[in-house]
């Protein structure tokens, strides 16, 4: 499942985050799928904010007017968000892409954008920012728009957003996400998982129980290729037949009356 957002209708999702979700320090990691319908316009996929901080905005993943993807964090002075990393590939309309953005405990930040069936996206070296960026408590998350300015509403689909308080540790795991493995394969350090099922208001976060209120009416839509955790290979072995003349004694525990008061 995914949610489809219409920019002209100012559609988004807005969540007040529980204490179980709030990241208070690096590392952090975010991933999700995006698909957009209008080129050459700046739209926001994900914003996290702190209601007690100047301008509120702490983190943002967005598409620029040049159809590039950028990962922002706000600096300590509360100034305009700093671009931490940007994809080196221009993304195009009507195509599913996957992003993973993360910041580790040593102020190294990275963003990878991968197209379906393509190579593993932006493989530029992580950007290292030694100061000027922090991660104060986040208590609000906005999907599909920039609440700080109530603008930049997404136009297209978003799906399978996962949040972690650790970095997804290696390229293999990040590439697995981009290949379609659902975030709930990667439970270590997970702080939130919003598959964006599109069928209820509010939209649930299945990991921490938080919810996202609908801003106007984003609708349910088809999702990209996703592989879910399952209990595959459960076998059904027929019971051995019992000889018709054989009477099996009941074990003592079953010789008691079956009804209790």
């Amino acid at each position: 499942m995914s949610r489809e957002f219409i920019n002209a209708s100012s559609e988004g999702l807005s969540g007040t985050q529980s204490s179980g979700f709030q990241p208070s320090a690096f590392p952090v990691c975010f991933s999700g799928w995006f698909y957009f319908d209008i080129a050459d316009a700046p739209y926001t996929m994900l914003e996290m904010a702190d209601t007690g901080s100047p301008q509120n905005q702490r983190m943002q993943i967005t598409k620029t007017g040049d159809d590039n993807i950028q990962y922002f964090l706000k600096d300590n002075a509360g100034a305009t968000p700093s671009v931490i990393d940007a994809s080196t590939d221009i993304v195009v309309i009507d195509t599913w892409y996957h992003f993973v953005a993360w910041s580790d405990a040593s102020d190294s930040h990275d963003l990878r954008v991968t197209s379906v069936g393509g190579t593993y996206g932006d493989i530029s070296a992580p950007t290292t920012v030694t100061d000027g960026v922090n991660w104060p408590n986040v208590d609000r998350t906005h999907i599909g728009f920039l609440d700080t300015f109530s603008t930049n509403f997404w136009d297209g689909k978003l799906a399978e957003f996962g949040y972690w308080g650790v970095t997804i540790p290696d390229d293999g795991q990040r590439q697995s996400l981009a290949a379609g493995y659902s975030p709930d394969h990667f439970l270590n350090g997970m702080t939130g998982y919003a598959p964006l099922m599109g069928i209820s208001d509010p939209e649930p976060d299945l990991f921490n129980g938080d919810t996202y209120a609908l801003v106007n009416t984003p609708t349910k839509a088809d999702h990209p290729r996703i592989i879910r955790p399952s209990n595959r290979s459960v076998f059904f072995v027929p019971a051995a037949a019992v000889s018709p003349g054989l009477i099996l004694p009941r074990p003592p525990a079953l010789r008691q009356p079956l009804l209790h008061h």
Binding site: D222, H223, I227, R228, R232, S233, F235, F236, P238
Partner: protein, 171 residues
């Protein structure tokens, strides 16, 4: 032990979708919560959609063909026939598993007509019989994949078909 024994039961989350033309996981709202289904586009779509399930031929498999039964519903009121196509791939020791080694056998059609003009009513198809040869002549312990495709433009059922289970027994 053989005929009639249950070999596999697949549910929507077991799907390892193909890279293109895949059915998508969906939820039906029910009084007791949600029911998971795999959604296959109908004749309003532009291409067939598929799901792939994988397992191992179990120890009680007796070397016969299989009967495949599909539990499904539709998401609207059309009562046009829904056609499913199933095929099986065997994966044996030293098989090449790359793209060139994927060789699903002959398609078996399972055609069923929704019982009522109501959305989300469960229908259970008659068995589609896949012979042992069309399963790739598997033996106990071999790997298998079962592909289920909906022929989206068979008849004129524009509704999406919602697969909830695939039950495989030995013929």
């Amino acid at each position: 032990m053989a005929s009639g024994d249950t070999l596999f039961v697949f549910i929507p989350k077991d799907n390892v979708p193909p890279s293109t033309g895949f059915a998508t996981l969906d939820l039906i709202t029910a009084a007791t919560g949600f029911r998971e289904v795999l959604d296959f586009i109908g004749s309003g779509g532009s291409a067939d959609e598929s799901a792939i399930f994988e397992s191992v031929w179990p120890s009680h498999y007796d070397g016969g063909g299989i009967d495949v039964v599909i539990h499904y519903s539709t998401d609207n009121v059309s009562v046009g026939a829904v056609q499913w196509e199933v095929s099986v791939e065997v994966i044996q020791d030293q098989d090449d598993q790359d793209a060139g080694g994927q060789d699903f056998g002959t398609l078996t059609d399972i055609t069923d007509t929704p019982s009522t003009a109501t959305a989300n009513i469960l229908d259970i198809t008659a068995a589609g019989v896949v012979t042992h040869a069309n399963c790739g002549s598997p033996a106990v312990g071999d790997g298998m994949r079962l592909k289920v495709t909906r022929d989206h433009d068979h008849a004129t059922n524009t509704d999406d078909a919602q697969l909830s289970k695939v039950v495989v027994t030995e013929t």
